[in-house]
Amino acid sequence: MGTQGHATPLMSQPGNVGIPVQNNLPPLPGGSNPLVRPGFPSNANIQQQRVPSINQDFSPTRANTAMLHGNRYPTIPAQRVSSQPNLQSTYNQQFQPQFVHNQQYNTKPASGYNTPNFNHYQNVSPNQSVVNQGFNKLWGAENYDLLQTANILPPTRIEPPQITLGNDTLNAANCSGEIFRSTVTKIPESQSLLQKSRLPLGILIHPFKDLTHLSVIQCNVIVRCRACRTYINPFVYFVDSKRWKCNLCYRVNDLPEEFQYDPVSKTYGDPSRRPEIKSSTIEYIAPAEYMLRPPQPAVYLFLLDVSRLAVESGYLHLFSKVLLEELVNLPGDSRMQVGFIAFDSCLHFFSLAEGLSQPHEMMVLDIDDVFLPCPDNLLVNLKDRMELVKDLLNQLPSRYNNSYDNNSALGAALQAAHRMMSATGGRVTVFQASLPNVGPGALTAREDPNQRASAEVNNLKPANDFYKRLALDCSSHQIAVDLFIVNSQYVDIATISGISRFSGGCIYHFPLFKFERPILSEKLTNSLRRYITRKIGFEAVMRIRCTRGMSIHTFHGNFFVRSTDLLSLPNVNPDSGYGMQVSIDENLSDVENVCFQAALLYTSSKGERRIRVHTLCLPVVSTLHDVINSADQQCIIGLLAKMAVDRSIESSLSDAREAFINVAIDILSSYKLSLNLGSTPGGLLAPNCLKLLPLYISALLKNQAFRTGTSTRLDDRVQAMFEMKTKPLPWLIQSIYPDLYPVHNLEEQQVILNMMEEPVHVPPHLQLTSRLIDNNGAYLMDTGDHMMLYICSGVSQVFLKECLGVPNFNMLSDQMYEIPTIENQANQRLISLIDYLNSEKPHRATIQIIKDNSPSRSVFLERLIEDRVENALSYHEFLQHIKAQVK
C-alpha cells in the first residue's frame, strides 16, 4: 500500500459512493451511537454469513477455542492487505463472546476434574427468584456468596472481558484485551459515580507485545486530528466522505484525498475500507517529519561485573556462551555496534581496533573522574570485527579467575557507558553480582537480616539519587540500561534499580545465583537468550491520549514522564507493560463512548522510524449497577498492585496492606449497595466479574512483595515490587496466583488444539489449596517463569514409569530438572501440555520435580496461598474478616 498512486484521476465517485450506501443501510439497533459510521456497506452481509458459521464452529468441546487463541489477533498480515484474511479474523472476534458463553455452559458438566463439587458449591444468593437468576445468568450478572462458594476459580483460563459498543463492526475493531485493558469495560459518566462504585479507574497497556498479525502502513500523509494530534482510528465519525470528526477532541478535520483510496480494490470511495478504520492496532512507517535526527543504529554495550563474587558465581561462562551463540541473532542492521566494559575496583576497557590479533585491554584506575582511554574502537561494528568479539567472549570467562578484588565500581562504569554512547544512544546491559561499594554512587549494606520477617520494612527507598540522576542523563541521550542481577548477597536493588527504572530499561533478578545450580543457570540462559534476540525499539516515546473530560493521572512502569501525557522510553521491549491511572474531570453524560489512544513512536533495529497505534473504545454508562458489573477483576488487581507498590515505598508496607483489604471491603460494600437488597441474611455477595477479587487480594498479601511475617530478603522484595510495576497483566496474574493443574490423569482431560493444530490434554485449573492436593496425584504448578511438578507419594507406579521413567516413588531423584522424553502416550501428553503452557511465554519456563517428602517441597507448599501459614490468614479467614467489615 506504499504505492498510493495518483495515476487514476479522481472521478466524481468519492462523494457519491458513500452516500447511497448510507441510504440503503437499515437503521442500526440502538440508533443513537454517534460513532457509528454511516457507510459500512458489508454490514448486512456479515450478519447473513454469520449464522451458518456459528453452527459450523459450534461444538461442545473446546477444540475450537484453540483456533481462536491461535489467531485471536484480528489484523491483516504485515505489509499485505487483502480483504479475505481480515474478514475472517473479524468473524472470529465477533464469535468470541457467544462462543465463550456457550462453551461455559457446555463444558461445565463435562470438565472432568471436580465438577460435582464445583456445581454444588455455586450457591447463588438465596433471595432471588429463579427467573431473576436465569436472567442474571444470561447476562453474566449472577452473584456468588463467596463464603459458600469454596471453589470459586473457573476451571478454564480467564479471558479478558468483552467490550460491547452496541455495534458489531466497532466491537470487532476494538483493541485486543491482551494489549489494552481497562479496569472497567464501561466507563462511569462522572467522578462521583466512579467513587460510589469504589473501583479504581485505570488502563494497563502492553504496547510493544509481539504480534503475529499487524497491519503496517506506509503512506505520504498520516491522517491525524489537527487539534489534538490523534491518529485516525475505527471510532471516528465521518461527517461526510471528505471530513471526519475526531473522537477525542470532537474537532472536524478534512480527510486527505488519498485516504479515500482503497489499496485492496484500488478504487476511490468509502474511507471506511481503509485498514486504519478497520483495526485499532496499526503500525505506520513514519515519514521524515517524525525524526529529530536520522534513525540511530542498534548499539549494544555490555558492562560486566568481574569482582570476586561475580567470578565465583560463574555467570560469565553462561553470558559468553549464550552471546556467542546468539551474536548473529542480535537485532540490527549493518551499522550495528557492540562494546564491552568489565569493572571491579577499576574499569577494564576493551579496544577492538582493526588489525589487532586479539582484544586489547586497557585499565582505568581513576574511577572518581572517569575518562575514556581511547576515543574510538571501544564500540565497534559487529559485522566488521566479528572475530575479535568472538575472541574476547571466549577469553572472558577465565580471564579474571585469579582476581581477588572485592570491589565493584558500578557507578563509574555507568558513567563511562553514558559517555561512550551519548552520541548515538542504545542499550546498556549490566551484569551485577556484588554491592557497588567504590567510586561514584558507592553504597553500603543497609539490610538487617534479623528484620526480614518483621511487619515494618525499611529501606525500600533508594539510598541516594546518583543512579536516578544518571538515568535521566541517559534517558535524554536515548540510552536505556538493563540490569541482570546475579547476586549472592545484598546489592541494594532499591537504589541501583533507579538506573533502569527511569531510563526505560528492565531488571532481571537471579537471587543466590551460582553457575552450578541447574534451575538458576537454566533460567539465566533462557532469559538472556530471549533478551538478546527479542525485538527492540530505540529512541521511543509513547503518548497516551484520552477523550476530552478524562485525564491520565499517574503512570506506572519504567520510563521518564516528560510531560503530562508523554513517556520517554529510550528503549522499548516486548516484555514490559505499563499502567496509567485515569481520572474523570468532566461529566461524560453527553457522550456514548470514550477512547484511549496510545501511540508508540520508535526506531526499529533496522533503522526504520515506526509508529504503533492502539486505540481502545469504551462505552459510558450512568448506573452503579452497570459500572460494577463491568469490572475487570484481573485488570483491577494489576492496577492495585502497582498503586500498592507506590504506597509501600512512599508511605509504608503496612499502609499498602491495609489499603488492599480496604479496597476489597469497599468494592464489595458498594456492590451490596447497588443490589438494593435491603438487609440480606448473611453471606458475602460478589458479582461474577468480581468474584475472584478477594482471592487475588489475599494472594497479593502473601506475595513476596507485600508479605510480612515470612522471612523475605529485601532485594527479593524490592524486585518483586518492580515486577508488579512492569510485568504485562497475564504474566503478573500468573505470578500472583499461579496456575495449578492435576496431571496424573491427563488422558481423562479435555483436548484442545495448540497453534500447530496438535491435540493437547489440558486439565482444569485448581485452586491453590492443599485441600485439593490428593495423595495419589501429581500436580503441575506454573508460576510464569518456573514450573513445579509435585509428585505425591501415593501416585500410581504406572504414572511414574510412563511419564518420568522411574519404577517407583523412592527411586525418584530429588534433583530432577527436566521431564525425560520417553516413547509413550502418557509422557507425550505431559510434555505437550508443558510445551503448550510454554508457548505463550516470552521464554521457556524452567521445571523442577518435587517429591512430597523432599526438603524442597516447601517451595511448592508456600505457593498454596489459600492455606493458612504461620502469620497469614487463610483465604476463608480473609473472607470472614472482610465480611465482618462489609456494611
Binding site: 539510598a463 493521572h553 499517574t554 521518564f560 516528560r562 503530562t564
Partner: protein, 144 residues
C-alpha cells in the same frame, strides 16, 4: 513617634515578604508551565530547586527578628507555615542537591496539583501578611 526595634522588625518583614510574594508567584507560574507542557520537568526542577532553601531561610529570618523584638502575635501567625516548611523539607525525596522537587515524580498529577495549590495558598498568605506587616510597622512607629 519613634523608631524602635519592633518597627525595624516590621520593616524587614515587609521587605522580605515582598520578595516572598515574588517567589511564590514564580512557583505558581512554573507549575502552570509544567501542567501545560511548556517546560521539560528536568529543567523546571533545576530552576525551582535552588529557590526552595532561600525562601525558607528568608521566612525564618524575619520570624527570628520577630522573636527577638518580642512581637509574639506576629510570630504565632507564622508558626504554622514555619512548621510546614520544616516538615516539608524533612520528608523530601532522596536527592543529593538542595531542593524539594524530583523530576521523576513531579509529573504525577497528585504531586502537581498539590504543588500548585501550595503555591496559591502561600501567595495568598504572603499577600495578606504583607498588609498586616504594613499595619504593624505603622502601628509600632506611631504608638511608641
Amino acid at each position: 513617634m519613634a523608631f524602635n526595634f519592633s518597627a525595624f522588625a516590621y520593616i524587614i518583614a515587609l521587605i522580605v515578604d515582598a520578595f516572598l510574594i515574588f517567589f511564590s508567584l514564580f512557583h505558581v507560574i512554573a507549575f502552570d508551565e509544567l501542567k501545560t507542557d511548556y517546560k521539560n520537568p528536568i529543567d523546571q526542577c533545576n530552576s525551582l530547586n535552588p529557590l526552595v532553601l532561600p525562601e525558607y531561610i528568608l521566612h525564618l529570618l524575619f520570624n527570628f527578628i520577630f522573636a527577638c523584638s518580642g512581637e509574639w502575635f506576629s510570630l504565632v501567625l507564622n508558626i504554622p507555615l514555619l512548621a510546614y516548611h520544616i516538615n516539608r523539607y524533612r520528608t523530601r525525596p532522596v536527592m543529593s542537591g538542595p531542593g524539594l522537587y524530583d523530576p521523576t515524580s513531579i509529573m504525577n498529577a497528585d504531586v502537581l496539583t498539590k504543588c500548585q495549590r501550595e503555591g496559591w495558598i502561600k501567595l495568598a498568605f504572603y499577600l495578606l501578611s504583607f498588609f498586616y506587616y504594613l499595619y504593624g510597622m505603622i502601628y509600632s512607629l506611631i504608638s511608641a
